[in-house]
Point group: C2
Chain length 231, copies 2
Amino acid sequence: MAQASLSRAEFEAALRALAPRYWDRHPFHRRLHAGDCTPGEVRSWVANRWYYQQILARKNAAVIANCPLPDVRRRWLERVTFHDGARDGEGGRADWLVLADAVGLAREELLDERHVARGTRFAVDGYLHFCLHRPWLEAVAAALTELFSPELMAARVLAWRRHYDWIKPEGYAYFENRIPVVRGDAAYTLDLVLTLCRTADEQQAAVRALAFKCDVLGAMLDAIDYQGGVA
Amino acid sequence: MAQASLSRAEFEAALRALAPRYWDRHPFHRRLHAGDCTPGEVRSWVANRWYYQQILARKNAAVIANCPLPDVRRRWLERVTFHDGARDGEGGRADWLVLADAVGLAREELLDERHVARGTRFAVDGYLHFCLHRPWLEAVAAALTELFSPELMAARVLAWRRHYDWIKPEGYAYFENRIPVVRGDAAYTLDLVLTLCRTADEQQAAVRALAFKCDVLGAMLDAIDYQGGVA
């Protein structure tokens, strides 16, 4: 007998129930926001996360490549542009370079990826592969970590300003630009997933996709924590 | 012993040498431009080509998803927008719907894909799969049929106006909008391929990719010709 699908409210609750798996509760993240990380650990986090930031335009393009709905493709294109910018020196990638400068990480050390842990590489490459090769709605559902991220980013800026006075304040541009956009993106993404995942199988696949994405992020922090700070 | 790579000029010549494999010389295309196709055959061509038009935004997004160079991604994004439009009712897809109306093909018959030959489906799906799964520079090289297409599209508009007075002239918007864009795109794509494919292996892969793409287009015309006109 085919399993019954969840109501829209039940399905949303099942997605939101993954909140404890989101990386805000990771021991490294708790230390990062409590002011207990060394400058070298903050730099390591920035360098590892750069590897993730770099694939965001591409994983969003993968959603578009696999999506048969023109309206969704058009809307999703804004995310590619958000990260890559309309021109060189603009967009999320460029803002992350500013953050790297602000935490005292040399541009060369960021770009040559010397501080990127192998665990970060496998997790991030796995995420891009997932978005390229899984059904597009699962890649969309994986983006639902943005349900949890605006609060975390807002808390990060406050915590870092308080605890790490050695970080130049212009470094926060990425988070300040991203927070309002993510709130809008999250509402759109959630509506898309709740509306288009109708069968029990599709709903379960969406929940699994979000759990997978939480594991991508968690595996990055595991690898960063294990590796220790940048010398 | 590793094979020597071609000079830039030799490599360009090798790519251009594929011109005879382009679909302009296909018997169906010759009849189409000579005024020898029935209205049903013209409609069949429009309906089958719709299936191809529909994946163009997606295959271009696949290039972006696989490309590690932000400058190339930003430039390639214009192609996604060209086909999907900035909003509903704009862009190449919308222009193709106008062409369908102009040749007397009911919107419903176009959208339900009833006239799409199975050979068209396999060829076009194969092209999207190629762009998703092969190295991004091969997908870029496959786009080099645009070296040959502006002349063909310009000739088509002239030939159709002369031979098929039953086609409404507003139907030519797609070709009229596409021709100037393709000329610019072709120059950019050619420079990219000539510059970035350096080894003999990479150059040969690019030539094979362009031959493959010619076969995608040729297989569509084979299937259309075999199937005959729309009733």
